[in-house]
């Protein structure tokens, strides 16, 4: 029921208080009314009986000495009691001796003869017969007829009084109960508001402390303790993150310094190998037979290949340290520029480029050029065996980011090796099939991620591959960790 469950706790408390007090008062009123109407009749009966007894005692001499005039005087004294309607005195034989009727009474006449002793109610009329006794002698009978207030009229009056009392007490109780209930519901509401602020992330939100020792006080206290321990835990967590990040950065720097020095130091012996192989080839060629010359050239080409690997490794590790210089970049022009460079450098057959206008980007132009170079040369390379090799470049934007798409109709790859696609020196094809060191896509990923973007790809073996990368449109995350 919405009326019971939905209003605030304050109204629920007020409602509960009022309903309880109304019920209690109605119940008490009903009991009082029933009790009173019972007692009222009893009381009236006793009153009228007492009056009748007094009258009976008063008229004994009048009866004995046959003085109806004196009896009338006693009867007329009943006029003082407005409830007595009619009265009469009967002699021993039951004949009327003297009678009285209240002035103005219409419907009531006294019985012609006395009836047996007793009292009974006829509706709200009380009829009483009592004996007249003098020193143990029975002299006659007194009759009294009293008109009491009807029970219905009495109940009606009672209901009116109860209603008045009810309204009066409600007028007092409602403001008091609202006041008192506010003392319960206000702290609860405050706790609820604070809890939702904390949920929204404001760990500094707090509930004002209270001196109350009741359940509300306990709740406020417990809540405060919960918030402070939450705050403490959050602080610990943050400190730990900072600590770990620092450790990670240190380890990362170390690793990069290591790989840089390793690649750098590898070059010297490599250059020596290549240099001495070259001297051997030029100065001692006549002494070598054909097989010797061939082996020497294998040594030289492998040392050159290793040199290229080391170059790529150096370039990759440099990427992590190089600061990003954000500028507005026309991506369409950049793609055209890169495409023409690739195709003067190392022609890959009759590739065609299909390019639509690309959304501009905010980024480091030289790094973005590296991205395009790697992606476009990959696309050219893997589609070069097709009869009609084709590379499509397109892009679109929404309010958050720009997404660029490079699609070729080349060899493609198996999606089950997707996890290795962007790893350093990870290759899905052999060098014999397609030359390369396996660093290109790792570089692409590192540059895009450092710009705050994402890289992903889709492919099927033999049906070409599509690479995507996105760049955020507004805030560039230039300070992103340099360790990816």
């Amino acid at each position: 029921m919405g009326l019971i469950n939905n209003p605030s706790i304050r109204w629920k408390l007020v409602l509960a208080t009022l309903l309880t007090s109304i019920l209690a008062q109605l119940f008490a009123g009903a009991i009082l009314a029933v009790y009173d109407s019972h007692v009222y009749q009893k009381q009236k009966r006793e009153e009228v009986l007492a009056q009748a007894a007094i009258l009976a005692a008063s008229v004994t001499a009048s009866m004995e000495f046959n003085d109806a005039r004196a009896a009338h005087e006693y009867l007329d004294a009943l006029n003082a009691n407005p409830e007595i309607d009619t009265a009469a005195v009967y002699d021993l034989r039951g004949d009327l001796f003297a009678s009285y009727a209240r002035y103005g009474t219409k419907s009531h006449t006294v019985p012609a003869r006395a009836t047996p002793i007793g009292q009974h109610f006829q509706g709200s009329d009380l009829i009483v017969f009592v004996p007249i006794m003098e020193r143990g002698n029975h002299l006659g009978t007194v009759y009294l007829h009293a008109i009491t207030e009807p029970i219905a009229a009495r109940l009606e009056r009672y209901i009116g009084v109860i209603m008045l009392a009810l309204m009066g007490s409600l007028a007092v109780a409602v403001p008091i109960s609202m006041r008192l209930n506010a003392a319960i519901s206000n702290p609860i509401r405050e706790i609820a508001a604070t809890a939702s602020r904390i949920t929204a992330g404001d760990l500094d939100a707090a509930v004002a402390p209270t001196r109350r020792t009741d359940e509300i006080g306990l709740l406020v206290k417990a809540f405060g303790q919960m918030v402070s321990s939450l705050r403490e835990m959050a602080g610990q967590l943050e400190r730990r993150v900072v600590e770990r990040t620092a450790q990670l950065e240190a380890a990362n720097k170390e690793l990069e310094a290591f790989s840089y020095s390793v690649s750098h130091d590898l070059r010297a012996p490599l250059r020596a190998i290549d240099g001495f192989a070259h001297i051997l080839e030029e100065d001692h060629a006549p002494q070598l037979d054909a097989e010797g010359k061939r082996l020497l050239s294998v040594v030289r080409s492998n040392s050159r290949k290793m040199g290229a690997l080391i170059d790529d490794l150096l370039a990759f590790s440099k990427l992590g340290r190089q600061p990003i210089n954000l500028v507005g970049t026309d991506m369409t022009a950049l793609v055209h520029e890169v495409w023409s460079e690739i195709h003067t450098d190392r022609p890959h057959g009759y590739n065609t480029l299909d390019i639509s206008t690309l959304p501009p980007a905010q980024g480091d132009r030289s790094l973005l050029k590296q991205v395009w170079t790697n992606l476009l040369s990959n696309a050219s390379k893997y589609s070069s065996r097709q009869d009609f090799p084709k590379v499509e470049v397109s892009g679109e934007e929404n309010e958050l980011e720009s997404v660029y798409r490079i699609r070729d109709n080349g060899a493609g790859f198996d999606m089950k090796y997707y996890g290795r696609l962007f790893g350093v020196f990870q290759r899905l094809h052999t060098s014999a099939e397609f030359p390369g060191t396996g660093v290109g896509l790792a570089i692409v990923q590192r540059v895009v991620v450092r710009h705050g973007g994402r890289v992903w790809a889709e492919s099927k073996v033999g049906e070409g591959a599509t690479f995507f990368f996105s760049l955020p449109k507004r805030k560039m995350i230039s300070g992103a960790p340099a360790s990816i």
């Binding site: 004995e64 000495f65 046959n66 034989r93």
Partner: protein, 191 residues
């Protein structure tokens, strides 16, 4: 003779029934018949009924249930009516005995004393004789002049009524109920 008529009546009606009947019908009969005997029948009933509204000192009786002596001295206007009326009646727990005396003294043991006749001098002597004794004196001489008795019968509007001399009562050590005083035509409280 009226006495015979009444005697026949008494044969038919006895006890309480008669008493009630006589109380109710006595004024009517008295008025209708102008019969002095009926008047005395009423007076006879009143005589012992007075006893119910009078307090004697405890010394007037031997014990709580000893007899009340109702004495008639002098002229007796009641005949046997008085004996019939009193028969079976009590004053409180005390039975009533009717005694007829020629003369009365303080020591005659009378509690209620009816002094009959119209001889005021003789009445006065009799009353004087019991002055100070615990005797409720009743006379029937109101129409012949002042009496010194405690209760004096009067006929008013064809009803038997009475005067009370509270002073005389107190001289005789009697207390008369206010209910009875209330019915008296006149109450004399002192000289």
């Amino acid at each position: 003779m009226p006495r015979n008529t009444l005697a026949q009546t008494f044969v038919r009606l006895t006890g309480l029934t008669f008493l009630a009947w006589i109380i109710t019908l006595a004024p009517v009969l008295a008025m209708a018949a102008e019969n002095t005997s009926l008047e005395y029948a009423v007076k006879a009933a009143y005589l012992y009924k007075f006893g119910n509204f009078v307090e004697w000192p405890a010394a007037a009786f031997e014990n709580a249930s000893s007899v009340v002596n109702l004495c008639v001295v002098g002229e007796d206007p009641f005949g046997d009516i008085l004996d019939k009326v009193v028969q079976g009646q009590t004053i409180g727990d005390r039975p009533i005995r009717v005694r007829r005396l020629k003369t009365v003294t303080r020591d005659s043991g009378c509690h209620i004393l009816y002094v009959g006749g119209a001889d005021t001098e003789r009445i006065a002597q009799t009353l004087e004789a019991v002055r100070g004794a615990n005797v409720l004196t009743v006379t029937d001489a109101a129409d012949t002049g002042r009496s010194e008795s405690v209760i004096d019968f009067v006929i008013k509007d064809d009803h038997v009524r009475f005067n009370i001399d509270a002073h005389a009562a107190s001289l005789n050590g009697l207390t008369i109920s206010s209910k009875l005083l209330g019915l008296a035509l006149s109450v004399t409280s002192g000289k």
